[in-house]
Symmetry: none
Subunit: 420 residues, 2 copies
């Protein structure tokens, strides 16, 4: 089963947009056991799309297409698909009433161009787009599947997950693949690889390991290929167990867990509350926590103290700490965390203060110097980080590091409470 991905849009060729859709689709198809062997990006030109489709149909069994389905003139994918399949656009009543209802709900008038969204090639099956007005489309011609979806990532992802994957599973029989993804943080890819070299070398040939690095974290994806799903799952158990024994201290979760979600669950299970006091992270830690649905059960709030007088007035940091040791110091970040716990009346608090850059660094405290603190009912732990000169990544890494310190403290407290 060979698949390929086609993305359509001049903006991709001009480099105005970085294509994240095709790597997401590559991961999804791979997890289904479908081998992606080609990707291409085509311009918004009828001939380019026709050529691309015809080459793809000679190479691949499944062709996944994104982009060019908007209501404006430069979006020509739908018409070109009609040409390619030698068919015509017809109005889909279900889509039309859906599009109308969206405009009604938003109290907006329906334009002629929006009506166009309900026109689809006669030979397609509509893939429902519950996040937007451009429907996805499924074509099955000459034993090949063509899936066309809008390029807006959140629309595309929902259509693919909820509509396309079930249809693919109905249409083809795939070999069994079992994936288990173990999530690690605060250890680099090459160090992790060295620590688990023995596990990797001992993997049977039907189990593959992939390292998927992101900012501050590395996901380890084990994929077992075979006929019997249950057997594959069983084979993975002792391997994953060994992994926990070897690098357990870096593992914060599995699958789709996020670190803030894991911390949230630990807090919720203990009926404890959290707050943050943020300087260099500017609210990002609070944002990471509150991105989780249901976080109001344990998160009470944050004081983003970008200015020193906010640290002093709202968090109760002693002005002399700032004047003698600076805002980026152990003493300041400790006072910020303890202040947040006190004024926001929470069991735990995270604080961060650092030099995110690009300016503001000194020889003593270069750009990337960050102090973090985690305060609990029993103690306040502080940690000095050196995170380099990329502002955005420094902010993200500070959040990951501080949430991970809190996670470990919560686990330790439980172990102590149980006398382990």
């Amino acid at each position: 089963m060979k698949a390929e991905i086609i993305t359509i849009g001049d903006e991709l060729l001009l480099g105005q947009v970085i294509d994240t859709n095709s790597s997401w689709l590559g991961q999804q198809l791979n997890q289904l056991g479908i081998h992606v062997h080609h990707k291409s990006a085509l311009s918004d030109s009828r001939q380019a799309i026709l050529d691309g489709l015809s080459q793809a149909s000679m190479r691949s069994d499944i062709i996944v297409i994104t982009g060019g389905l908007g209501p404006t003139k430069d979006d020509i994918t739908k018409l070109t698909l009609c040409d390619f399949f030698n068919t015509q656009l017809v109005q889909n009543e279900k889509v039309l009433s859906w599009v109308s209802s969206i405009f009604k709900m938003r109290n907006l008038p329906m334009l002629a161009s929006n009506n166009q969204q309900a026109m689809v090639p006669e030979n397609c099956k509509v893939l429902w787009n519950r996040n937007g007005t451009a429907p996805g489309m499924w074509f099955f011609e000459n034993n090949k599947v063509y899936i066309s979806m809008p390029g807006v990532p959140f629309e595309m992802k929902t259509i693919f997950e909820e509509e396309a994957i079930p249809l693919l599973k109905q249409t083809f029989s795939f070999p069994s693949i079992v994936h288990r993804t173990i999530l690690t943080c605060n250890i680099g890819e090459s160090f992790l690889a060295k620590k688990i070299a023995a596990i990797e070398d001992a993997l049977p040939t039907h189990i593959k390991l992939a390292y998927l690095p992101a900012v501050g974290m590395v996901r380890l994806r084990f994929s077992a290929y075979g006929d019997n799903e249950h057997e594959l799952q069983e084979t993975l158990i002792p391997i994953i167990q060994k992994l926990y024994e070897t690098v357990g201290e870096y593992i914060y979760g599995e699958g789709e867990d996020s670190l803030s979600q894991v911390v949230g669950m630990l807090l919720k299970g203990r009926r404890k509350t959290l707050s943050t006091a943020e300087s260099c992270t500017g609210g990002y830690i609070a944002h990471a926590i509150t991105l989780q649905a249901g976080s109001s059960a344990y998160f009470k709030g944050s004081i983003v103290s970008y200015a020193n007088d906010v640290k002093i007035n709202q968090l109760g940091v002693d002005p002399s700490v700032i004047s003698t040791q600076g805002a980026v110091s152990e003493a300041c970040v400790k006072a910020m965390a303890e202040g947040a716990r006190k004024v926001l009346k929470t069991d735990y608090a995270i604080a961060a203060s650092g030099v995110a850059g690009p300016s503001g660094g000194s020889i003593e405290k270069p750009v990337g110097t960050v102090w973090i603190a985690v305060s609990t009912p029993h103690q306040t732990i502080c940690k000095l980080l050196n995170l380099g000169d990329n502002r955005e990544r420094t902010i993200q890494r500070t959040a990951i590091q501080s949430l991970d310190v809190l996670r470990k403290l919560l686990l330790e407290e439980t172990a102590e409470a149980h006398g382990i």
Copy 2:
């Protein structure tokens, strides 16, 4: 002059790595006036690379290839290029002494696989890689240029900028392209298209318009193609002017501007300060503002009041407002914004309170109901939004809408001050 980009590597097809090289190359080529009309990602397979090269040679004049030049077994680009050009690898003495000197400097032994780095196809011109051991290669065959570079971004970029661009300029004479990108927010793509239909219809054939939508915003990219860069720039001026006259209220910037950066510049220019009081956005507005380097010049901080008692104790919201009208209400968000201005001592404040979902909605206030407020020294403006049921997007859209309200207020105040 038509160019295409080929990236080589299974990791790109599996989605393990997001390809940023090709968008960077797209920008570079475009700026030279070279039209990139195709991109493809190929697997580390001899046949796939041969097929890809032969198709590219039929479509394009310039073929830029990245990846597959490392010292490991899966890197086969160089050998395949030899097959494609019907030539053989020869040792390049200059590269060999460079590679040896790198290993000497790093105090590492030179492996046989590293010697291989100095072997290049006989028909190529070496493009110097001063950041690594894998040289770039330039081929000129049948009036077509092939440029092969390593996939490591910083090596590739230096080779392209320092070696490939000068050679391209020597080899070809390029037409000019001028781009101008206008940034709009808080208007949907189709509404924008309708409003500017007359402008779009009147565009001369050598000027193209593309709509590039993202969450809460649409970028309009005008591209003018011709011989004389200055003339193209001049041609665009009245068109852009017309655009401002027609949809100026939605335009927040141009090029690479971000909304929070534009608001930041307006505040900085007026020596004014800003704070936020955030409930449903959970710190995201503060994060968007502080992602901008230098934001400490105008941003003092935020009170993220996720819990009602934080709204009451830290922002001074009257408890009776919450008990009678709820936390998601005009009165509450108004009190939050005014409270933030007062306690954080800023000229302006943004506040947001809403139902981000997925739970917490009611018939009266369904998921996606958000109240925002912007408080200034003269007034507090409140606005009710309905943003749908995606938690993350509701948070992002709330930030965009509230920053845009502030942006407009700042511009109005200036206009008033100047008696316009």
